[in-house]
Symmetry: C2
DNA sequence: AAAACATTTGATCATTTGTTCAGATATAAT
DNA sequence: ATTATATCTGAACAAATGATCAAATGTTTT
């Protein structure tokens, strides 16, 4: 064992602390998923899209106008947000309406804004 | 005005909806800051570092052992987290101890995990 | 069926990101 | 002072990202 403590010979690493933290550490997969989620929130365009959808359902064309970006660009971002199950959509005639698919976004934004504006 | 509605001639964009959403939309700078924050949380290594610090203060060497990455790599990431005011540090002898500098991280992780594990 | 419109998609390309490596700093111990 | 240890830094490079453009879908209208 202690394969991982080679680096700092014997007393650089506080073995007890490391062991304790390791015990409660997130699994590799969970950490990856969590990072994926935050990464999806980590772009100004997507932040604006999600924030807009916080107010109301909107079609791609509206979203493009709101965030000031091409429909193509918005569509690409929406695909990513869909993959992360952050938004859902419904088709109505020629338009596709997007809305939030996650009840936590408002809370996440609120906490994020608290941090940013202090 | 209506500079921005050229694209969809007259009735693709729901002008009223767009106007309403535009009114409450985040400023360019706030959206950027918020995105920066989430981007900082959007990497597995950084997620693990922050999660570890949720348990207790740790030195760089410990963190490296916990997340299974070189001290250099961890140090680079810590710099980024420092820039976002997510962690703070204190020097004690040869070691530098890092701890969380944001009370919202726990909440952000909790909400994030709820989304991921459902 | 053809034309018009909203949305999606794939390819491309410049930019950003995250790790590694080698070397610099800073503090402590001899 | 010299050596050892912990941390930081800059350069380099592969990989991921995000916008743009052209073209493909899918839907409605005529």
């Amino acid at each position: 064992m202690s394969e991982e403590f080679i680096r700092c010979e014997v007393n650089c690493v506080h073995e007890d602390a490391v062991r304790e933290v390791r015990r409660v550490m997130l699994g590799e997969d969970v950490a990856a998923s969590l990072a994926e989620l935050f990464k999806a929130l980590g772009d100004p365009t997507r932040v604006k899209i999600l924030f807009a959808l916080l107010t109301r359902e909107l079609c791609v064309c509206d979203l493009a106008a709101v965030v000031g970006m091409s429909e193509s660009a918005v569509s690409h971002q929406l695909r990513l947000l869909r993959a992360q199950k952050l938004v859902k959509f419904r088709r109505e005639g020629k338009n596709v309406y997007y809305s939030l698919d996650d009840s936590h976004i408002e809370e996440l934004f609120a906490r994020g804004l608290e941090h940013v504006t202090e």
